[in-house]
Amino acid sequence: MIGNLIPVYERPHALTETVTHYCPGCTHGLIHKLVAETLDEMGVTEQTIGVASVGCSVFSYNYFNCDFASAAHGRAPAMATGIKRVHPDRIVFTYQGDGDLAAIGTGEIIHTAARNENITVIFVNNGIYGMTGGQMAPTTLPGMKTTSSPAGRDVKLTGAPIRMSEMLATLDGPAFIARRSVHNPANVNRTRKAIRAAFEAQRQGLGFSIVEILSSCPVNWGKTPVDALKFIEDGMLPYYPLGDFKVSEAMKALLRA
């Protein structure tokens, strides 16, 4: 408090005072903040163990103010499984990009969801490999130019983008599967609520929860930050509809309460 001013906004306790390395306009940082606020609101920051993946968010372990492990590329759900089985009373979450989760780590995410492992997955889908400089991901939109699909993604050669949330929702186990976006304030708020729901599912022991978040990569999309947000709305939303794809009965009861 400065003088008699009352703070109405503060850096979440769950975020460290480290300057992130994210590019200007990248929404990774915003998503970090939403997760951190959720942990604080729930009062579980000290009880939480995060698992960073390999991708632009690899350094998330420097930004969250809780215990953190750093997994091999794609293996965060397996590593989180190992941690959760040892500390079932802790909140365990992974933070993964779409290359990490939907390409190299497809097997791990499917089986972790199928086991209904009581963890939470924050899945940041920006439709591209950010860290390695903008190659095609399994989530890259049809026709989209990347450094490894310079003429635009040809679905005849590479298949169509994978809708992970819909695919995982075919499994019996998971408690909560939702897709959200952060391209405008209203959607940021909806994302915040879904993240809270996902962590609550875990706290109540309901099982696997994942929030897929459509996120921007202005640098590798070759767009200004504002245009990148616009691209989420105009380019990604038509292919990746927002919504709840799986809400288990127990989760429904929890959400009503």
Binding site: I49, C66, A72, G82, V86, G107
Partner: protein, 384 residues
């Protein structure tokens, strides 16, 4: 305690349980599967974590998670499965968290076969994954020794915050032998004793990070230096070997694990016939018993390395003893086990005063599978 008949895989599993194994993750593969099956019953009964993963890739990364979480954790597999684990083993080594891996080696390369071999010596002993790191590798030659080594492996892993590998093969895994089991250890619950590095939730202490990313070359160099210092400490303190008639041997047979078990019969027979033959058996493959072997080699006139592969430990024997004595090699590949007689023949033919003309001079007739270690690599590799 009474000795009971145990199958190798199950005995190792029980030894791990008694050593305080808290979390096991694995995937079926012959000739290791009974280990997983045994723990599928035993671990849940004790309220400990057991999970059959969707692959060895997932299993080892679950172990990685359990290890950073501070648990006594282990996985087991056989050659192809261990190949699949190599990336994570490198991460685990770099993160410096303890874990135990049991490898029941089988015939390779490729899908290979189910027969016992020692063809993964290079993979296990020299690191296997990327980067400079050294797992502690222990090679039992009996079910009892497999039990004893498994029992101490968790202590070693924790003392050095290092990977410990039990390097055995289908022989050890599948055979039944009388075993005296060590006592079941009482251990405090995971996380109740803080050792200053495990991730348990940052309650009342600063947060911790378990990672293996070191972007600055200087920082990566420091991590490497620390790993090398640790390897040096391990080499200074954890050398294990066993000897039979080695001190006064003119011909010293060097073999580990199953190969040593077979060679021992041949050595005994040769002794009975008056040949001055001894057996040196490295138990720790890393750290390799370099000094002891060098000492024995200055005394012996000749060495004969016996392995169930094309000559892998052979390279370490050469490094240790090549300057002091000529070295012969007898190998069997692909899971073909030599009979003691064949090794006996190799001994006779290598023996300085009997089969050969002494110290590698002159022409000797070699039994199949055996070749003198002279000449170039390519000459040595042209097997008849």
């Amino acid at each position: 305690m009474a000795r009971e008949l145990w199958k190798g895989n199950e005995a190792i599993a029980e030894a791990a349980v008694r050593a305080g194994l808290e979390a096991y993750f694995g995937y079926p593969i012959t000739p290791q599967t009974e280990l997983l099956e045994y723990l599928a019953v035993r671990m849940p009964a004790l309220g400990r974590a057991f999970l059959q993963a969707e692959s060895e890739l997932a299993a080892i990364n679950m172990v990685y998670g359990a290890a950073v979480a501070g648990a006594r954790t282990m996985t087991s597999s056989s050659s192809p499965g261990v190949s699949l684990m190599q990336e994570a083993l490198s991460y685990i080594a770099a993160t410096e968290v303890p874990m135990v891996l049991v490898d029941m080696m089988r015939g390779g390369p490729g899908l290979g076969n189910l027969a016992p071999t020692q063809a993964d010596y290079f993979q296990l002993v020299k690191g296997g994954g990327h980067g400079d790191y050294r797992p502690i590798v222990l090679a039992p030659d009996s079910v009892q020794e497999a039990v004893d080594l498994t029992y101490v492996s968790f202590d070693l892993a924790e003392r050095y915050r290092n990977i410990v590998i039990i390097a055995a093969d289908g022989n050890i895994g599948q055979m039944m032998e009388p075993v005296e089991m060590p006592p079941l250890r009482e251990r405090p619950p995971v996380g109740s004793v803080d050792r200053g590095w495990e991730l348990t939730g940052a309650v009342g202490r600063p947060r911790r990070i378990a990672h293996s990313l070191n972007l600055s070359p200087e920082e990566m160099a420091r991590v490497n230096a620390s790993l090398q210092n640790k390897a040096a400490a391990i080499a200074a303190h954890e050398v294990r070997y066993s000897e039979r008639f080695a001190e006064d041997a003119d011909l010293l047979v060097v073999a580990f694990g199953s190969a040593a078990r077979i060679a021992q019969t041949a050595v005994r027979q040769a002794r009975e016939e008056g040949l001055n033959v001894g057996l040196f058996r490295p138990i720790s493959l890393f750290p390799f018993p370099t000094d002891r072997l060098a000492h024995l080699a200055t005394r012996a006139q000749r060495l004969l390395v016996v392995e169930l592969n094309a000559g892998q430990m052979l390279e370490d024997v050469r490094l240790a003893a090549g300057a002091y004595a000529p070295i012969d090699f007898f190998g069997r590949m692909g899971g073909v086990l030599p009979m003691p007689d064949e090794i006996y023949d190799a001994i006779r033919s290598a023996y300085p005063h009997v089969g050969g003309n002494g110290n590698g001079k002159g022409k000797r007739s070699l039994p199949a599978g055996m070749r003198p270690l002279t000449g170039s690599w390519s000459e040595r590799m042209s097997l008849n």
